[in-house]
């Protein structure tokens, strides 16, 4: 790997790790369901950048783009279904708090 590629990997890798930590922190600490989904979004964004960076550095950007597009489509499907579930839970509990979910049976 050339020195420029290493510097690029260092710069992007540093940012990706910070955003991963931010998203993970958001998912773990928040009790608001929509905010937890936003944290999940941040995690997938960091993974997308890391995926394309790996493709760029290994010279297989076409494959990386195809995988990134697949990731984006799956991300949308996950978010849409999760938002539907959150709205249903809100109708049941009149709250976006995750605490009432502890009372679920089963």
């Amino acid at each position: 790997m050339s020195s420029e590629a290493l510097r690029l990997f260092a710069v992007f890798g540093f940012g990706v790790v910070l955003v991963l930590a931010t998203g993970f922190y958001c998912v773990v600490t928040t009790r608001n369901m929509i905010r937890a989904l936003i944290g999940l979004e941040l995690l997938t964004k960091a993974v997308t950048v890391l995926l394309v960076l790996a493709g760029y550095l290994s010279g297989r950007i076409g494959l990386a783009q195809a995988l990134a597009i697949t990731l984006i489509v799956i991300e949308v499907a996950v978010i849409v279904v999760a938002v539907g579930i959150v709205l249903n839970l809100y109708r049941h509990h009149q709250s976006l708090d995750t605490e009432p979910l502890r009372n679920l049976k089963g």
Binding site: V11, I38, E41, V49, I61, T70, I74
Partner: protein
């Protein structure tokens, strides 16, 4: 590649993610998320992945924040009094904005360009099409199945809620 631009974009990416998480209101968090997606699209463009960048910009910076906004609108309804108070707050906050923008524009015309933005070299966009259609066609089938599954799930969830009402 011009590393200065990349360092600035990565720094902006991290700051936007932090703003998204730290924002007190959900609406601001969603706006921060859209900003983060737009910056990710710029990063993908810098990494010679223009098609993925277009997907990121249109879907993640456009569609997903819209879905979140709909969800917030359905769960946090404001009273007329709240709306009046917030409108008053906004007026107090942004009365100086046009003045600041005019001053910034005048300053920008006086300062010589500090950064030379070098666009990435010509990319072979046919490559990703070849990969998607000839090598990873099972991925496409999977994507179609996932989208259909998501659509049916949302229909089922909405129907269940309508029955309860």
């Amino acid at each position: 590649m011009n590393l200065d631009i990349d360092v600035m974009l990565v720094a902006a990416f991290v700051v936007a993610a932090l703003v998204t998480v730290v924002a007190a209101r959900l609406l601001r968090a969603v706006i921060g998320l859209a900003l983060t997606s737009a910056l990710v699209a710029l990063l993908l463009f810098r990494l010679h992945a223009p098609i993925a960048a277009v997907f990121e910009l249109s879907v993640c910076a456009g569609l997903i924040p819209a879905i979140f906004l709909v969800a917030i609108g359905m769960t946090q309804r404001l009273t007329a009094e709240d709306v009046a108070v917030r409108r008053h707050e906004k007026t107090q906050l942004f009365w100086a904005l046009p003045l600041v923008l005019i001053c910034a524009g005048i300053l920008l015309t006086q300062v010589p360009p500090l950064l030379t933005f070098a666009p990435p070299s010509t990319v072979q966009t046919a490559d990703v099409r070849h990969v998607l259609w000839n090598q990873r066609h099972m991925d496409l089938l999977g994507q179609v199945a996932i989208l259909l599954g998501a659509a049916f799930s949302v229909v089922a969830l909405v129907k269940e809620a309508a029955h309860e009402q």
